[in-house]
């Protein structure tokens, strides 16, 4: 019990800033990617673009299957205003060479997620999981409430392509 004093007993009763606060139709919580090249990209800087946040790991088979498709789609639609940010959940003590190798094969930037929790998005408890934000910064697809948020061609066409066809402006 003495250990509680180290972390602060008030933490027991403080609402978590990192909890899942996602609501479809509401502004998406800001997320920052620190890429393997050191570049910081924050979603709040991407207003006017359609943004996909995708979470993957080298040990995640379904992720490895969807990444090439997503990479190709991202390259194909970048000029139309699509940005994909990849968050890798591999351990910093793991095989980073392999993580970097996969990241370099993708058309979009990726970086390690420092913790398994992303503020506003909650604990990333299963992958692959994806979140889609429209040009106004509003969440339009919540990977937690979508039972299968893994990308396939039909799903990209249904969710993302219509957003790219709208040249909406930032609020």
């Amino acid at each position: 019990m003495a250990a509680l004093s180290f972390t602060g007993i008030e933490a027991l009763f403080t609402p978590r800033a990192d909890a899942n606060a996602l609501r479809i139709g509401q502004p998406a919580p800001p997320a920052t990617l620190v890429g393997f090249d050191g570049q910081r990209i924050t979603t709040s800087e991407l207003l006017g673009r359609v943004v996909i946040l995708t979470f993957w790991a080298t040990w995640c088979g379904p992720c490895r299957e969807e990444l090439p498709l997503l990479s190709a789609y991202a390259a194909q639609h970048a000029a139309e205003g699509l940005t994909v940010l990849g968050f890798a959940l591999d351990s910093p003590e793991g095989d980073l060479a392999k993580v970097r190798q996969i990241a370099q094969s993708l058309s979009f930037p990726s970086g390690l997620l420092a913790h398994a929790t992303l503020p506003g998005y909650g604990r990333i408890w299963r992958i692959p999981v994806n979140f889609t934000i429209n040009r106004q910064g509003v969440l339009v697809d919540d990977g937690w409430t979508d039972k299968d948020s893994t990308w396939n061609a039909a799903r990209l066409e249904r969710i993302v392509t219509p957003l790219l066809n709208h040249s909406g402006t930032a609020p």
């Binding site: 019990m1 250990a3 509680l4 180290f6 972390t7 933490a11 027991l12 978590r16 909890a19 899942n20 790991a57 040990w59 995640c60 959940l89 591999d90 351990s91 913790h115 398994a116 929790t117 909650g122 604990r123 990333i124 408890w125 299963r126 992958i127 937690w144």
Partner: protein, 181 residues
Amino acid sequence: MPNHNLGLQFGVKLPTGHYGTAVNFDNGPNTGSPLDASLQAGTGSTDVILGAYYYQAVSQDFDMFANVQFQSAVAHKQDQPGNDFRPGNSETFGIGLRYEAHPNWIPQVQLNVYHKSPDQGALADTTDTVGTVAYISPGLTVQVLHKLHAYSVIQVPIYSNLDGYQLFPHWTATVGLSYSL
């Protein structure tokens, strides 16, 4: 990290504790005679321990885990006719939930079932060493430092079916520290 893990465990228990005639009653009517084999610190046996565990996140805030373990003596030093002892096999099964909403303090509850077969041999008290017990075990893990965690578990029996006369605690508590490299 959010994933599911399946692991296998293998261990060996060595016959390091005192057993046999090394520990005798030092008073009372049995002064000088060996303590009951099942009450001694050691068994004189070499045991193999096999186990497996499974861990998976099941929702944003909850993880589940399960484990099984089997222990069996494969060699025993007390093996002379009329002076032999082999501890009974034991099996343990556990299943639990961890509440992961707060990374710094993680409550958990688990159900454990333990079964032990009777000890064998002339020195064994075969009628008083077999039984099954189920425990409910609430616990808490607290992050003290970056890689240092303190944990505490209280084990409360909710079912017992023990043959003969056996020592059986009303509850037990475990407190410890763990450091992840």
